[in-house]
Amino acid sequence: MNFSGLIQDFGPLTITGLAQGAIIALFALGYTLVYGVLRLINFAHSEVFLLGSYACLIVWGFFGLDQNSATPSTLSVIGLLLLGLVAAIVISGITALGVELVAYRPLRKRNAPPLAFLITAIGASLFISETVGVMTQRNIKGVPPLIQPRDVFVIGNMHVTNLQILIIVLALMSMFLLDRFINRSRLGRGIRAVAQNPDSAALMGVNKGRVISLVFLLGGLMAGIAAVMYDLKIGVTRFDAGFLLGIEAFTAAVLGGIGNLRGALLGGLLLGLLQNYAASLFGTEWLHAASFVLLVLILLVRPTGLLGESLGRARA
């Protein structure tokens, strides 16, 4: 164990961990939203993210940008970022709705047992990621360097770059807007109603089918934003990127209390930080093991996650 290393690098590990955690948290929202309403682990959510991560690359490709392009001017960077975000959000949203339509809705109509949903989700995930794998020949795809990382400020050996700030701010902003939407808007009330009690919500005139679609869509939107940020941060995407990060995001969602929006944020950030610290302390190969150990320990003490579940009580 390398304590001195951890202490020496604590600052930089914290900021990179927060950036990674912010991405995980946004990704985790999709799991949490769907779980909150349907009590369903949406395994295919990882592929919602995956397609988003390709969508923005394709759009940037239209403008002739690849990993070797020079960084464009600031104005066009803003334009490109927005376009990429829109593309990723749209594709991720469509994918999420598509998965709901093809894999879940028919089962709901047939009143299938809960496990059946899990398995169609696995089938959908396999189908999408493998199709992408074949189409890309399982190769990596590089991301254009839209944002050249530059130090915005430095504290000790902690260099905080513009990209990290962008990721964290964008993630927090998206979360804040989502939280407001769920807690304040009429549609959000519908979501909370269905999450708390589907039967009485239906009696009160809430259209359950619409709420479910909405929840998938919202999860897709968040995954789209996460995907763009992931591309910018990691610089590469690949057919199994979704699966890999999906497991982490799901872990984060459970850690914070699945079905709880703020839990997802907390879980994501915590996981990002912990992975970095653990990698520094024990070696990078233990990074994922550390997150699972933390999960198990926390669930043993708090069986429903740090903040408890229930989308209905998202404010709690």
Partner: protein, 387 residues
């Protein structure tokens, strides 16, 4: 009762559907008589799908290119290409290997690319007596099993490691080196030898997960930066290496990334971006293809529309070595195996001659270093001593 039947039929129908879709199979054994040493097959055995498919595909394409060129020269489909997908997994390999040996037209095998699947599949090839030439399985112990059909067309980790270490020490004159690996049999083996060669110059170490299992290397990068090392040696493959190189550049690290032949692939530059990849050094127990004067590099690009990757050239050589043997009338696996034990074949990446254990003759082991240039390609740098 009727309901039960209906249900059973429903279930069967689904299965039937699958079987029906699968009914049309590709195995239409052509029965043209073997004339002019034709009508045989050479097999590629390795990963074509799965998470490590990219390396397998590199090799398969080099292999297939050689056979296509041969057939074009002959004007007919003289030697058929047979592909066997092991997914690179030791768990899958034996079944696929047994299927391979059932095809009596197969005279020789290029593969398996990875050491793990070699351990699982080579005993089956050995039992069937079909010669194998692996272009990339570099685990030292593979040749110690007493397999007569095993041939390795590259230097094993024991040769490449010291060369990489020597280069870092003597040519780059680095005093602080960070050594990391991806825990693959290849990467871990290589980095251990490098570590030994470098001795006290190693300031810190780390391990990562394998390709496709990790994408965020922030912690590793931070360690490298903090260690003030000027060289990072990474034992692993090009995908992770590319991601690490990119993250290192982002973090403002000015040192050089050095790796083994697993990193000698344009994919590294694709992941990192050419600007970041420039100057990255890879060692390779092979000679630069342009030295061979052939048109391999352009042919490959023309055929597959991608740049030749790691080991594509060695696979190309291995296939040609087999083809030369078949041309000379060695049309049984046994004869071809005997041929391999005596041949001295000059290919584009190297000259090949095998010891009785199937290792490359020490006299022909060459290790070169290559450097990534600004276009993302690897350019031969210099030959380095292996001891």
């Amino acid at each position: 009762m009727r309901q039960v039947l209906a249900r059973a039929i429903g279930g069967l129908a689904v299965i039937g559907l699958i079987a029906g879709a699968a009914a049309c199979n590709s195995d239409s054994g052509s029965d043209d008589t073997a004339s002019g040493n034709c009508g045989y097959k050479l097999a590629f055995f390795g990963a074509l799908t799965g998470s490590s498919a990219n390396l397998g595909v590199n090799i398969e394409q080099g292999f297939e290119l050689a056979i296509n060129q041969y057939n074009e020269k002959k004007g007919s489909t003289c030697i058929e290409v047979a592909k066997f997908d092991s997914q690179g997994e030791p768990g899958v390999a034996p079944g696929v290997a047994r299927n391979l040996v059932a095809d009596k037209k197969i005279l020789g095998i290029v593969g398996p690319p990875f050491s793990g699947e070699s351990e699982a599949a080579d005993p089956i090839f050995e039992a069937a007596g079909i010669p194998t030439v692996t272009p990339s399985a570099t685990r030292v112990s593979l040749s110690a099993n007493g397999w007569k059909t095993f041939h390795r067309a590259v230097a094993n980790d024991d040769a490449q490691g010291p060369a990489a270490g020597n280069y870092i020490k003597n040519v780059m004159k680095a005093e602080k080196v960070f050594v990391a690996n991806d825990q693959s049999a290849y990467g871990a083996g290589l980095s251990e030898v490098v570590e030994k060669t470098l001795g006290s110059a190693v300031v810190a170490k780390d391990k990562t997960e394998a390709d496709g299992k990790q994408t965020d290397f922030s912690a590793l990068v931070q360690k490298v930066v903090s260690s003030q090392a000027t060289v990072l040696f990474y034992g692993g493959y090009y995908q992770n290496a590319g991601l690490i190189r990119k993250a290192l550049t982002t973090a403002g690290w000015k040192g050089t990334l050095v790796g083994g032949d697993g990193m000698k692939d344009p994919g590294l530059a694709k992941a990192a971006g050419n600007a970041a990849a420039v100057g990255t050094i890879t060692t390779c127990p092979c000679s630069p293809p342009e030295k061979a004067g052939g048109t391999f590099v352009t042919d490959y690009k023309a055929k597959w529309n991608v740049d030749a990757g790691t080991y594509s050239d060695v696979a190309f050589d291995a296939a040609n070595m087999f083809l030369q043997g078949i041309d000379a009338g060695n049309t049984t696996p046994e004869k071809l195996n005997t041929y391999l034990s005596t041949v001295e074949y000059k290919g584009i990446a190297n000259t090949y001659k095998f010891t009785d254990k199937g290792e490359l003759d020490p006299n022909y082991i060459k290790v070169w270093t290559f450097k990534f240039d600004a276009t993302g390609n690897t350019i031969a740098d210099q030959e380095v001593p292996t001891a």
